[in-house]
Symmetry: C2
């Protein structure tokens, strides 16, 4: 395997995909830092809103390693300021590999580009360029500081990583979560491992709307909350032509708006939308979901089986494992060549 | 993510899994080399018999990078001798991360342990220790040369990587290859992408026996050869209680022994056995196969579907992607805790 810019950026991309769906309203971004001699100091990613951006997180982790005596503040703003003062040139002539151009704007945290310039990095390798009016311009800040900047490395892969955020930004992002066995079966019971379910609850805690069909409501009677991570339950939309039982569990969750409608259109106010269901709801939603997140538990089962009945051709974007399960992010190929 | 010995060894483990099943009669082994400053020079693996062991391959790739003018011989023996003379201390004080203790014996190629000692490596980090009478003792050679040796890092993961080889060595290794869609369906036609099929043909070219059931013979009428890689077709065993049509394609392949028997026992002379089939043959073989290699194409289909009908609980060992597909190596959990 060739060890080049793409190798390091691949590490950043893979790390970022682990947090895809969890970072709203920020994009999933990964960052690798190598020291002046080219040794990897850290592989990091932005984990969720309110936590450091990938570059700040990576810088923090790298400095923690290089100087274990430094006592870092937790708040990202204070962390940014602290590092700007106390980096002690430990990251001088380092190289940053980031999946997205470092931001140039003051959001919840100060710009990452100025941080990297302050640290005295030698080179920054960037996957996707930032086209957003708000945050673009990071590469220019870096170049002005005399840092070598390479843009567009593994551009396609980095753009795929960024796409859910861009969709969210331009209106809404929706994804269909499906949990199956290796044989494609599923049923009312729990299929995947605890780690996968915790991940799903994290996703729910970040979404503003969760969508299910009437069949799931009647068959599973789910809570659709984020109790496994102590998170806020998203509002819930039940798409059904039939009456629903208002005593169903999903109505019992506090601080949640419930919507029941005989339509598959998402109310306009929601931007980050998670769809859950089985075969019939996948059929209904396969043209509406922007992405598909499919878990496979490592087993086959003959009991109590439901099966997916649909013709659907997807494209694999990222493949990983979590707990005892595998999972993949997919999108629907609109044209089959 | 913490960057430590386990990080580098994980890179070696993942690289080695890509060649699992292709390396017989050698084990799948991965190797990462970092230079005296800790920068990664190479992530390499043993690819197949007759090609360099992981350590020699990694050394060759690292030196090619450090001195592009060196003209290396292709033959592994000559390569070993050439590197011993012309390494020019370029790998002095490097660190080797290997999933298996470097061999101490002269096989098709000279011992890897003496090569690493000659190069003047500073440290060698080892996953699994070599217990085989033939090749053990590499760590001692390294220690005698004044090299720091760490053994047992990520031991469990490295042992899992090595296990197919150990099974092969102690008698035979068999694995069941299954290709499914995301919904668990399959049929007579081609399901997976070209890259996956090439990989399967490579596996066949290394196996000494391919095993199918009578149903596959009658329904698919496969060649079961290794034509996509120009490899030798393995001998073929048809397990069936019925008469078979001797005009079937599988009988037309040259230089192949054909066995037809009303029994599921593999003839003793075969050591590396690949089993292919669908639902009924998986049911028949689920207790006999040492490992399961399961491909999933990225689609769902309602047409011409066959389905797997079995209760089978597996454990995921490695998850990867190839072409448009995902694939995983699994084994059967004998006891559910």
């Amino acid at each position: 395997m060739v060890i080049d810019d793409r190798f390091y950026l691949s590490l950043a991309i893979n790390e970022a995909w682990k947090y895809q769906g969890l970072t709203y309203p920020n994009p999933a971004v990964g960052c690798v830092i190598t020291d002046k001699n080219g040794a990897i100091l850290v592989v990091a990613a932005h984990k969720r809103r309110g936590l450091p951006h990938a570059e700040l997180e990576a810088t923090y982790e790298a400095l923690s390693k290089l100087n274990p005596l430094l006592e870092f503040p937790q708040d990202p703003n204070e962390l940014h300021a602290f590092i700007s003062k106390h980096h002690n040139n430990l990251l001088k002539n380092s190289t940053f590999y980031v999946t997205l151009e470092p931001c140039a704007h003051q959001g919840l945290t100060p710009p990452c580009a100025t941080l990297i310039a302050t640290l005295g990095a030698k080179r920054v390798v960037i996957g996707s360029s930032d086209k957003t009016q708000k945050a673009k311009g990071g590469a220019d800040i870096l170049r002005s500081a005399g840092i070598a900047v390479e843009e567009g490395v593994l551009k396609q892969e980095c753009d795929e990583l960024l796409k859910p955020f861009l969709l969210w930004q331009s209106g809404s992002f929706s994804f269909f979560k499906l949990a199956l066995r290796l044989d494609g079966t599923y049923d009312n019971g729990t299929i995947t491992s605890h780690e996968s379910r915790v991940f799903v609850h994290k996703l729910r805690s970040v979404c503003d709307l969760i969508v299910i069909g009437g069949k799931t409501l009647r068959t599973d009677n789910p809570l659709l909350d984020a109790r496994l991570v102590g998170g806020k339950a998203p509002d819930a939309l039940i798409c059904t032509a039939k009456d629903v039982d208002k005593n169903a569990n999903v109505f019992s969750v506090k601080d949640r708006e419930m919507i029941v409608q005989n339509s598959l259109d998402f109310p306009k106010k929601y931007k980050n939308i998670m769809i859950e269901g089985g075969s019939s709801f996948l059929r209904a939603m396969s043209d509406k979901a922007d992405r598909f997140l499919i878990f496979h538990s490592a087993d086959f089962s003959e009991r109590g089986r439901e099966r997916i009945e649909i013709d659907l051709r997807l494209k694999l974007l990222y493949q990983g494992s979590i707990g005892a399960d595998s999972f993949g992010w997919y999108y629907k190929e609109r044209f089959i060549i």
